[in-house]
């Protein structure tokens, strides 16, 4: 399922909304999650999962081809942990 298929499904379920409103709703939600992570906040959606940001400290990496040492600066990576309910449902629990 892609974002546009998600929008179509929601538009079908909500015939009283314009499709462009559904588009704005979906975009708003992903934008809010993105903005929260960019502030370093966590996003916790009980039953679904939680998004957080993890810091990776600076390190000395190596160019695998030349073996040359290169400095890799600190970076932050987004992380998702599946919620208990969804994890159970993926494995056949109700």
């Amino acid at each position: 399922m892609t974002k546009s298929e998600l929008i179509l499904r929601l538009a079908e379920q909500n015939p009283h909304l314009y499709q462009r409103d559904v588009e704005r709703i979906v975009s708003t939600i992903f934008e809010e999650i993105t903005a929260a992570l960019a502030r370093g906040d966590r996003v916790e959606l009980r039953g679904f999962g939680a998004f957080s940001v993890k810091r990776r400290g600076p390190r000395v990496g190596r160019n695998p081809r030349t073996g040359e040492a290169v400095h890799v600066g600190e970076k932050y990576i987004p992380f998702f942990k599946t919620g208990k309910v969804l994890r159970g449902r993926l494995n056949g629990e109700r």
Binding site: Q13, I33, A38, R42, P78, R87, N91
Partner: protein, 106 residues
């Protein structure tokens, strides 16, 4: 790091502010979106959200684990796990604001 936690309530408030639906309907839509994504994943279907990331379901085989406290061996049964891969757009947004040396290394 800030350490605030954003929840469903914040997402529906954002929808309410942005689109002007009632608060109740905004909350219902947030719920519908999470439900549609979950249902697709449970069907074994991946979910791709452009400029955000993709969720996919991976099948894991049986393996022997160990209780870290007692050292006892326990079988870990085959199961399905959810994997999230963040898009470059999302990674860049996060690093642009959180790193001091943003842009210095690729």
């Amino acid at each position: 790091m800030a350490g605030k936690t954003v929840t469903r309530a914040d997402l529906s408030e954002a929808v309410y502010q942005e689109v002007g639906l009632s608060r109740n309907e905004s909350a219902d839509l947030v719920e519908s979106i999470l439900k549609e994504i979950s249902d697709a994943l449970i069907r074994g279907e991946g979910v791709k959200v452009s400029s955000f990331g993709s969720f996919s379901v991976r099948q894991k085989g049986r393996r022997i684990g160990r209780n870290p406290k007692t050292g006892e061996e326990v079988p870990i049964l085959p199961r399905r796990v959810l994997v999230f891969r963040a898009s470059h757009v999302l990674k860049n947004r996060i690093n642009d604001t959180l790193t001091d040396t943003a842009g210095a290394a690729s």
